[in-house]
Symmetry: C2
Subunit: 147 residues, 2 copies
């Protein structure tokens, strides 16, 4: 569904939104320990998110990663797009070339009509859900975020 890399990315951004409020920075080593993600690999992932301005990073003592923008402005789709790309939302479920995402499809695959609605719901979820509204829900309900 989502790549390993993408799952790491999403969990990291949620983690930062919860723990690096008001411009605080958290080091890659602490993040990787808390989330159980290999440290150097996490580095690469956070770098690519920082390049796209989703995160900010500073070097040197007390440096680390923090959010690059208002968490309400970061949708799950933003993260997925950077890491995995949009293939999942754009291409046919069973790989038939002429079968396209749009609703009035001239050349639908045999599962197109079944799958179309589900894909739309997923698209909506990933676009509407932002890191911001995820964490307010987490905080409101006292959810404990383990990994």
């Amino acid at each position: 569904m989502l790549s390993n890399t993408c799952k790491y990315a999403i969990r990291s951004v949620i983690y930062l939104a919860l723990n690096a409020k008001d411009g605080k920075k958290i080091g890659i080593k602490k993040i990787s320990e808390d989330l159980d993600i290999p440290t150097p690999f996490l580095g690469k992932i956070l770098q690519s998110l920082a390049r796209q301005k989703l995160l900010s990073s500073t070097k040197g003592p007390h440096g680390g990663f923090g959010l690059g923008k208002d968490p309400m402005e970061i949708s799950l789709m933003n993260i997925v797009e950077i890491v995995d790309g949009l293939d999942m939302f754009e291409n046919c479920l069973i790989g038939m070339r002429p079968c396209k995402t749009d609703t009035n499809n001239q050349d639908p695959c045999p599962v197109h009509n079944q799958f179309k609605g589900i894909r739309q719901q997923m698209f909506k979820l990933f676009n509407e859900r932002t890191i911001g509204n995820l964490i307010t829900e987490i905080e409101d309900t006292d959810e404990y975020i383990s990994l």
Copy 2:
């Protein structure tokens, strides 16, 4: 979403259900040409489906692959399970270990409640849709199956 291999597998079974009726066999070379799938790779895939009795195969002149059972008895899930496994339906969307598929989850991830319904729909679709009812729909509506 689904692996390349799995997409090839599904398209091949649909193809066989449409073209290899009443015990007819079709050679791997013809299938791979019609579906634009690398021949030797397709061989491996069909072999694994045949080992699980979804397909049948015969060697020798006029040999080839055909369906191994009534197409109404082959669900999309049967194919996905053999090729990709059930990971997608069983594990957390963002890779949190304690977050489980079942509905009354003690330790849900921040997207669990949003995603749960969508995953159930997908599960249902893959289980309920069989190769048999796919092809009757195809034949009823004169759909042209290209790739």
